[in-house]
């Protein structure tokens, strides 16, 4: 057994590919908290979030090659997995509820949702700065999409803005955040800038 505590995420993935349980345990130690927090945030359901964490790490165990260390970080990969699964679950639940209530015409109208999805600003200073430098409408759109699990069309309804505008705001907001984080000296990985 090598010193896994010091191993890179890429090396962990290789070890996981060789069925080393201690490597998966180390990946869990590093990332499970964030994965759980994100799933919990989107689902607002502790039991559901725990299931997502299990799914994501079991997937890493069975298909570690789906994580490509040259394309991005393991954290981003695991969080994207968790987010996609949480959102799928949210939408499946929502459509089941809709069916049960036979209320197809009901739209996302709860304006209180808008208030709930606020980015956690208890994070590192650099991120806080980058987030607070965002135009508020871009920030809102990203919050509702990422933490609220809404599609950009639903976000458009919630914010009473045109769909195309919301779509653009999400993209430009993410780009602005990336630039802000890079300026703040955070090394951003993932794809070369084009």
């Amino acid at each position: 057994m090598g010193p896994l505590r010091d191993a890179s995420d890429a090396a962990l993935a290789v070890a996981i590919g060789r069925w080393r349980e201690d490597a998966l345990a180390e990946a869990f130690r590093r990332h499970a908290g964030s994965v759980y927090a994100l799933a919990q945030r989107v689902l607002r359901d502790r039991a559901g979030a725990e299931e997502i964490v299990q799914e994501v790490f079991l997937r890493l165990w069975h298909a570690p090659d789906r994580f490509d260390a040259e394309r991005g970080t393991m954290r981003a990969y695991l969080l994207a997995q968790a987010h996609g699964r949480s959102v799928d679950r949210l939408r499946a639940d929502a459509s089941r509820r809709r069916r049960e209530e036979r209320d197809a015409a009901r739209t996302v109208s709860a304006s209180s949702d808008v208030e709930v999805e606020v980015m956690d600003l208890t994070v590192a200073g650099q991120l806080k700065e980058a987030v607070s430098a965002l135009p508020v409408e871009e920030r809102r759109a990203i919050e509702l999409a990422y933490f609220g699990g809404h599609t950009y069309r639903e976000v458009a309804v919630l914010l009473a803005a045109p769909e195309g505008t919301v779509k653009s705001r999400i993209r430009s907001g993410l780009k602005r955040l990336r630039a802000g984080l890079t300026d703040a000296g955070l090394e951003m990985v993932g794809g070369s800038d084009s």
């Binding site: 890429a10 964030s34 079991l58 993410l174 984080l181 084009s194």
Partner: protein, 312 residues
Amino acid sequence: MSEIDSHEELQELLGAYALDAVDADERGRVEDHLRGCARCRAEVEQHREVAAQLAYTGADAPDGLWRRIAAQLDAAPADVIATPGLLSLGDLMELPVVGHAGQRDPPHEPVTHPRLRDLDRTDPSAIFGEIRRGDILVHLPYHSFDTSILRFLQSAAADPAVLAIKLTIYRTGRRSPIIQALKEAARRGKQVAVLVEITARFDEAPNISWGKELEKAGAHVAYGVERVKTHVKLALVVRQEPDGIRRYVHVGTGNYHEGTARLYEDLGLLSADPELAAHAAAVFNELTAGIPAPTPGKLLVAPHDLASGSPH
């Protein structure tokens, strides 16, 4: 959604896509595009890295969660058998290489065939005009499949002047944009006839399932020809033009499969040669209706005339 999705249009969706904020249909279209566009793939990765920064870092996973996961890892020590080497040649398909970035070739990005490079992306009739100017030979995987053969079929589905599309399919991708294009064409009232080979090893079940999907969309689907395995890769597009009906053909050595087209070396010919096209039409009649094609014709078709017609 019926038009060929433009790079610019899909680019606008990438932020929402990276945050899972698109609906299922858009997700499929973005993923189709990502397969052929390294620049957009890189952008999605970047957005995901930014999103990962937004997620809270300080949290701990609930107690006991790891134990529950560990209990599900079904590889007990006794299950793990170390082998001294590779298990089979299949293992060479993918060698895990970590690090040594400087010693790796950059991933190969297929280029668009020069004759197809400057076509108007929004005009589905453009590719047919170019084929009329002369045959186009596509060399996969060096030439892009997406901007040649896939574009030929997607254009045929979108172009109002196209009356009919006929195609043989031996193997195709799981979320195949070709199937999407054919469904779209059938929905738009074009005649779509597809010959599906069901004895394609590993792909029997999927072939039947998307064959049914095509039928539902209104396409005519024939499932193979008895006693022979239809391995031909042939597509025929019939177009109403000012001077009459004109047929366009694609005949190739590679499957209509956007995944393997990035991997295997194959040739594909796009042509409006009337003699070739007429014979291709006759071959389709033979495949779907059992009406024998004239032999020998411009195409040499096994099992009748391939051996006798080949140069010795």
